[in-house]
């Protein structure tokens, strides 16, 4: 096949542009980013969350999250005062029956609360990027996995949409994308953190309740924080190796 010089003038720049996209598909596209140097996580500081919903909106914008589904959401808990009847009979342990709401995932904030009794707090939730994740364990074809730098990701060109991973996640952080028909979930804004940016939700949080954490970075403030605070993970009994740490998490949180 003979290629004329005119054809080359058109083909070469097109090839260069295309080559840029091909390279963009390689981990080396962000120069200086080595996956083995990072182990990503997140810290949620419960006392700082004001339930503004900025994180939910920012995530939806950044990641084109479809309406009605959530890669991150905020729950509002109300642990009421000890529940008793008037005659002093204990009716229920408020720690086991908190009132929880999450109107549209907290995307437009929460209705004003007026009840001064009990304790209110907000709990932002997202994929816990589990180190021993049950969701990657059950995928039949290897479409979801934990990357070498600690982000649990979905390969949406390989996923069958069987929804087994959605069933296996104890935290309800996965869903099947209504249009793409594949599994979808928080990617810890992998496309941002590999370029030195923080996640969209952390960027939008006005109080610093959400902080991206790199456990392999000796300069990350998480190391000092862990020495001076009590942190929990959600559902520790599931032994999922969850990496999203919650400061001051109440025992009533599910």
């Amino acid at each position: 096949m003979k290629i004329t010089r005119r054809q080359m003038i058109v083909l070469l720049p097109a090839a260069a542009v295309a080559w840029k996209y091909v390279l963009a598909g390689t981990p080396e596209a962000s120069p200086n980013y080595k996956m083995t140097e990072h182990w990503w996580s997140m810290l949620i500081d419960i006392p700082k969350c004001i339930g503004c919903g900025n994180c939910v909106r920012a995530c939806q914008t950044e990641n084109d999250v479809p309406e009605g589904f959530f890669r991150t959401w905020v729950e509002r808990y109300h642990r009421s005062d000890w529940l008793m009847t008037e005659s002093g009979e204990v009716t229920a342990n408020p720690l086991t029956v908190p009132e929880v709401i999450s109107p549209d995932g907290g995307k437009e904030g929460f209705p004003v609360a007026t009840d001064e009794s009990g304790k209110y707090f907000f709990v932002p939730k997202l994929c816990n990027q589990c180190a021993d994740s049950p969701c990657t364990q059950v995928c039949p074809v290897g479409a979801t996995f934990i990357s070498p730098d600690g982000a649990v990701l979905v390969d949406q060109t390989y996923c069958l949409g069987c929804a087994y991973c959605v069933q296996a996640c104890p935290y309800g952080c996965r869903y099947i994308h209504p249009v793409k028909k594949v599994a979808d979930k928080c990617t810890l804004c992998y496309h941002r953190i590999t370029k030195g940016l923080t996640t969209a939700c952390c960027e939008a949080c006005p109080t610093g309740a959400r902080q991206l954490v790199d456990l392999k970075d000796p300069k990350d403030p998480i190391h000092e924080f862990l020495k001076t605070h009590s942190v929990q993970v959600l559902k520790p009994q599931m032994a999922t190796g969850a990496k999203v740490f919650y400061n001051d998490l109440d025992g009533s949180v599910r």
Binding site: Y21, A24, G25, T26, P27, E28, A29, S30, M35, P47, K48, C49, I50, G51, C52, G53, N54, A58, T61, E62, N63, R76, H78, G109, F110, V112, A113, T114, D115, E116, Y120, F121, F122, G142, A143, T144, F145, I146, S147, P148, L153, D155, T157, Y158, T187, Y190, H191, R192, T194, K195, L197, T198, A200, E203, A204, C205, P206, T207, G208
Partner: protein, 157 residues
């Protein structure tokens, strides 16, 4: 052995299996993506593809590189740790090419109330007001400068 004479059908049945298996192996070699298994039981190229998604929020460092005047005001006030796009929305396009996108100024009557409306659910130390009682319908920026909203120390208008 006479079994070979009287059971050729069994060997043919097995032969169908063997043939099908060989065809399967050949097809598998061509169909399974080349980067599969590079880092684990998944397509290694998927990592790079996910990392190449477009960015919508520029990140506060991008804003601060140009808008140093605003940064100077903000850094001294109560909103020092509130990032620009938390109020101004996703502006990566503007950061890439400032003239292509002109950010719209947020409406303070709406945006401030999202965080600062009094609620029993919010942490007690957080500044919160009942908007109707506090400003009698006036937009917040009537008295507060959004980048440094404290009423003391030069934040008042």
């Amino acid at each position: 052995m006479s079994v070979f004479k009287d059971a050729p059908h069994l060997f043919r049945f097995a032969g169908v299996f063997v043939f099908a298996f060989l065809v399967f192996l050949v097809v598998r070699h061509y169909v399974v993506p080349k980067s599969f298994g590079q880092y684990g039981h998944y397509r290694g190229n998927a990592i790079g593809e996910i990392a190449a998604h477009p960015i919508k929020f520029a990140g506060h460092e991008a804003c601060e590189s140009c808008h140093t005047d605003v940064l100077d005001v903000k850094a001294k006030g109560k909103h020092a740790n509130v990032n620009c796009e938390a109020c101004h929305g996703a502006l990566a396009k503007h950061a890439d090419d400032p003239s292509s996108v002109t950010p719209v100024k947020p409406d303070t009557a709406v945006i401030c109330a999202r965080c600062h409306t009094t609620s029993a659910a919010k942490p007690k130390g957080f500044p919160q007001v009942v908007p109707e009682e506090h400003s009698t319908g006036l937009p917040c920026e009537t008295c507060h400068k959004p980048h440094s909203p404290g009423m003391d120390a030069g934040g008042a208008k």
